[in-house]
């Protein structure tokens, strides 16, 4: 089991919603799609890589073969899947504090949804409905979502800067270089692996030993 891959956490939450009210949630999502300004609160949560809401109608679970028994469900279900940086608490709390109203609209009339305020019942609701990931892959475990965004900015500004590299004397170059650094001061910063605080810590440790050429010795110790 691993909900964590480097600096990203994979959250899966499944919540039942009455099939005859699920259209309300779909409507709110549709409005959010058509009017991106409604997502401005989410954008302030810059710790998110990608997140999605998927409503599965009670008759929409994939049916692939005559041998597969058909589902007979009373409720439809809403899946919330998110990739974010930081701890579980930080994330859930930031939702509550940054976009409580929007959150309540997205989960409107989901069964026993506690509302995003107060915090403790909301924590309990998410915990109760959360599913654990078995395998989680991240193409850039060393980077946060902010690193990815700022790296794009750095790369683009360097490409622009390169066009002027030969222009003028050294002092003019230095002025432009300093302007570049000032422009990038919020985007620069070294990335490093996170301390090993994850459910896949064993795997990380094993990989470290593999890189150090000590894996076989470690395996022997483990298995006597």
């Amino acid at each position: 089991m691993s909900n964590i891959a480097g600096k990203a956490y994979a959250m899966n939450v499944i919540t039942p919603v009455r099939w005859y009210t699920a259209w309300v949630n779909k409507l709110f999502f549709w409005v959010a799609l058509k009017r991106p300004s409604t997502l401005s609160g989410l954008i302030t949560l810059s710790l998110i890589h990608y997140a999605r809401w998927v409503i599965i109608g009670r008759n929409q679970f994939p049916h692939l073969s005559p041998e597969q028994p058909k589902e007979k469900l009373k409720y439809s279900y809403m899946l919330f899947l998110s990739n974010f940086n930081g701890s579980w608490d930080q994330y859930v709390d930031s939702f509550t504090f940054a976009i409580p109203g929007g959150l309540d609209l997205f989960w409107k009339w989901n069964l026993r949804y506690s509302k995003s305020v107060a915090l403790t019942p909301f924590h309990n609701y998410i915990q109760y409905n959360q599913l654990e990931t078995i395998h989680y892959y991240n193409a850039y475990p060393l980077a946060t979502s902010n690193d990815v965004k700022s790296a794009k900015n750095v790369s683009e500004m360097l490409a622009d800067f390169n066009k002027t590299i030969d222009a003028g004397g050294d002092d003019e170059f230095l002025k432009r270089y300093q302007t570049l650094l000032r422009g990038l001061q919020h985007d620069l910063g070294a990335m490093h692996p996170t301390p090993i605080i994850s459910m896949s810590a064993y795997q990380v440790e094993k990989r470290e030993r593999w890189h150090a050429g000590k894996l076989d010795q470690y395996e022997e110790q483990q298995h006597g």
Partner: protein, 233 residues
């Protein structure tokens, strides 16, 4: 379409896992899937690192849906407390019922660069071409996958398992993965460059910068970059 945000695509797959046990083995198909996915964690890197354009993805087994079992605090709760003569069935009738899935499902949820096409076809083809052996390892335990023998079958199968996303939020970028990785490499290297060149003369910084750009090759996305899934410096 809600699966798409710019050039990024949010693929949500639910593949029904066969009920029962593996023939000749004392293990359920769903548990075999779980074991094999767990074993992926023990590899030096994820098989998904080989699949072009994958930003982030996850796999898990949905054993069942969740039953909400808390009382609601609604009027029937109160009435049944205040008026014992009111039958308790009044209260129980409004409690959520328990749903039960008939099959367990493999959930594959993936965020990737789809490009302007806005379809998952090219990605799924790339996935099949890169790791079809590993795909079989997992999806052979799912209903209907015995019909999958090539990339076209795989795309068809996955689309049958696909759920439409109601809202896909992209809080990152939607560049091709190679560009994201090259940008991360440039950010890391240039940060060090800025530190190393503090206080040097203009001429020295200029010369060093030229050398830095020569070394880092900002426009070369294949070399001098980070590899997908790179987890150590």
């Amino acid at each position: 379409m809600a699966n798409v945000s710019g050039n990024a695509y949010g693929l949500s797959i639910l593949s029904p896992i066969k009920n029962g046990r593996v023939l000749g083995a004392e293990i359920a198909f769903a548990d075999l899937v779980r074991n094999r996915l767990q074993a992926w964690n023990n590899e030096i890197n994820s098989p998904m690192a080989l699949v072009p354009q994958t930003y982030l993805c996850r796999l898990y087994v949905l054993d069942d849906v969740v039953t909400e079992s808390l009382p609601s605090g609604s009027l029937p709760d109160t009435w049944s407390d205040l008026l014992p003569v009111v039958p308790d069935s009044l209260r129980r009738d409004v409690m959520p019922v328990q749903d039960k899935l008939q099959s367990r499902y493999l959930v594959f949820c993936c965020n990737f660069y789809a490009g302007p096409s806005g379809t998952p076809d090219a990605y799924l083809r790339g996935m099949w071409e890169a790791i079809n052996g590993r795909i079989h390892e997992i999806w052979d335990n799912c209903y209907g996958f015995d019909q999958v023998h090539n990339a076209d079958n795989f795309i068809t199968y996955m689309k049958k398992c696909q759920l439409t996303t109601s809202l896909f939020f992209n809080g990152s970028t939607d560049q091709p993965l190679e560009e994201q990785l090259k940008a991360l490499y440039m950010k890391q290297e240039f940060t060090q460059f800025a530190i190393d060149n503090q206080g040097l003369s203009a001429a020295t910084i200029r010369a060093n910068y030229r050398e830095f750009m020569q070394k880092t090759q900002i426009n070369d996305l294949q070399h001098r970059t980070w590899q997908p899934g790179k987890y150590r410096l």
